[in-house]
Symmetry: C2
Subunit: 394 residues, 2 copies
């Protein structure tokens, strides 16, 4: 059975369990996840039986790629009528219960859907979709492995050519080009509203310690108030921590990793903080096995940061701290589980999680490490293949 | 008066005209447009008086940058209470009428807003925001001019280094790096749900003629079904049209331009279609002046494509055609006005519009041209500064 069909069947089991009649996938990534084709359209999965991908464009592309029936969609207005005709067993004229992803669906589009299917009672299927996507298949893991390799090779190759005078953005631009050559798409997809990510956060010294709207421990001054994150045009300075939180997307799948580098030598406070981040990561690895509640990993990280006397620098500084130490990753960077308070759900084999203990020192820099891990039956496997430790460049 | 304040006052005039009590900006780009800072938060503009930027993160960054009062926002739940306290003249306990942008706001976030301000009646302010952003200030135009220069220089520099054997994505990666060096952000923002754009569409021959979900005349086979648009890993072939629809983002502002290139010679059919696209653009330029209904530009383009016998290849092929010939551009690629049927609104001085007559030939390629124009009191000014005509490389 294809991965696509397995996913749809797992979704159908969830729908049946919750007494729902169907699921309407509206987001490009969700549609791809369920049928292998990313088009402008709506993928309907009934609780029982085969679904239909209603496609505006490109219909011909969908027909080539999708593991699903593909029907052209003339207009959103007609969708309800088309579905009623195509699914005669569903009672479109009475009280149908359907789920869709209200976490990403814009209100205006939702209102049009409601008009097109006036008898349907909608429920939020976001959690269902996030749970479904949380457990990765062999093929998904294989793509993430390729991404891990691409980012490692690119980072090594680019840092080997580093020259004094490079600005943060010059380093980032060279990394992006190298990643592109290895099959990277050009961006890392995020599900969160208003969140944006090209390939990550790169910066040295005080610049990267600047907080930003991005929901991560390092912000970065960025290029302009209209893009206030990641690399700036500041030259990389000697003896300052160079923070390289860069991933890439291969075959749709994202890897996320961070390495700390330096041209010259870190001062002892930065060096020590970096080593604490590695120690924390080693300790957290011991918790990576089926059964550990996701939030327990975060609590342990907080405890260790506190013990090291670095609590106020952990995952951002002071009031600008973020409240997690890791996140699921796959087709998007911000998947489930989140290693944060409130996520009591136990880890399960097949989850892929980026863990990123980091310390922020305003005016001085950000140091830390981030690896992406697969949870296995026995414990974990590290998917990130870049060497650890501080990278000395030049 | 600052640009930011002028924009807020124009918005307030619209609110008063429509009998609304205020506007809640929720999207990162809209917040930046109205106060000069892009943070995670909500910018409230009352119909009269000063607004407040309620910021989750980064508060310190917002305080540095925003042309607005900045108040920390503890939680979305508290927003209603905070606003009621900060705006005692507004009757938060009875029937307040507020606008927000329902075209981009996700349903789940909207439902939380409704809970936080249960007495507020919400109306869709998307059109208001799009109208407001349609007319550019001197500073905005200056940024677009910089972007036009960056893309021209980058394109010239990269094509001068072209070597046989380059793949589409290699050309694109080199272009991206060069654009980055000129201050480009790494992506071109789009407002449309599910739309994605790194720097545009690059491809040669049949690859770029493949349709995609992207709402534009050229699609591209892309790297994978999970990123089914723009450049592929196919080597650029001799004598095939090389389509380069690449823009960039400088200081938040996007330029969009297309040039057709060739290594060797175009065959006579492609050469002719390219020349028709230039002829159409020249004819459309004559309509670029205040007072012309936006849709009239599109109708004229259709008429000329028909007259040239190329109607079925215009703006995509056959059933995969898109139904516009141009679009407003600014902080996002897909702004108003759209040069399409139904957009009866007359052109006005200060609008910035990309116009892109193109012809798609399945299996052979896409040819065409795209310039970005400023509408002036007298007519138009071409902001794109790349030379026209087919670019011969090597």
């Amino acid at each position: 059975m294809s991965d696509w069909k397995q996913r749809r069947e797992r979704l159908q089991a969830m729908l049946q369990e919750q007494g729902l009649d169907g699921f309407l996938a509206v987001q490009n990534v969700d549609c791809y996840y369920l049928c292998g084709s990313m088009q402008s359209g709506f993928l309907f999965i009934p609780a029982k039986g085969d679904g239909v991908f209603y496609v505006r464009r490109s219909v011909s592309r969908a027909i080539q790629e999708a593991d699903s029936a593909v029907f052209p969609l003339a207009s959103l207005k007609e969708l309800g009528k088309q579905m009623a005709r195509d699914f005669p067993d569903l009672s479109f004229d009475s009280d149908l219960k359907m789920a869709t992803t209200l976490d990403v669906l814009p209100v205006a589009l939702y209102q049009k859907l409601q008009q097109s299917m006036s008898q349907v009672e909608w429920t939020d299927g976001s959690s269902m979709m996030k749970k479904l996507r949380m457990i990765k298949s062999e093929a998904e893991i294989a793509s993430i492995r390729k991404a891990a390799k691409a980012v490692d090779t690119s980072l090594q190759d680019v840092l080997a050519t580093f020259r004094p005078g490079w600005t943060e953005v010059e380093l980032l631009a060279n990394l992006e080009r190298e990643l592109r050559r290895h099959g990277h798409f050009g961006m890392m997809r995020m599900r969160g509203f208003n969140q944006e990510l090209v390939v990550g956060m790169v910066g040295s010294g005080g610049e990267i310690a600047e907080p930003s709207f991005f929901d991560g421990p390092a912000g970065g001054s960025g290029l302009h108030p209209a893009f206030p994150q990641s690399a700036s045009t500041t030259p990389i300075r000697r003896d300052e921590p160079l923070f390289i939180d860069v991933g890439c997307t291969i075959e749709g799948y994202v890897i996320d990793q961070t390495r700390t580098a330096v041209w010259g030598r870190l001062d002892s406070a930065m060096e020590r903080a970096y080593l604490v981040s590695e120690d924390i990561l080693r300790a957290l690895e011991q918790l990576l096995k089926p059964g550990t509640p996701a939030e327990a990993v975060y609590f342990e990280a907080l405890k260790l940061a506190e013990k090291a006397g670095l609590r106020s620098h952990f995952m951002g500084y002071g009031s600008e701290q973020v409240k997690f130490v890791g996140h699921g990753i796959g087709l998007e960077v911000d998947e489930w589980p989140v290693l944060a308070k409130g996520f009591k759900q136990p880890l399960e084999a097949g989850m892929v999680i980026a863990i990123e203990p980091k310390f922020t020192f305003p005016g001085q820099g950000v140091v830390g490490i981030e690896n992406t891990y697969l949870i296995t039956e026995q414990g974990f496997e590290k998917l990130t293949c870049s060497r650890e430790g501080v990278w000395h460049i030049l």
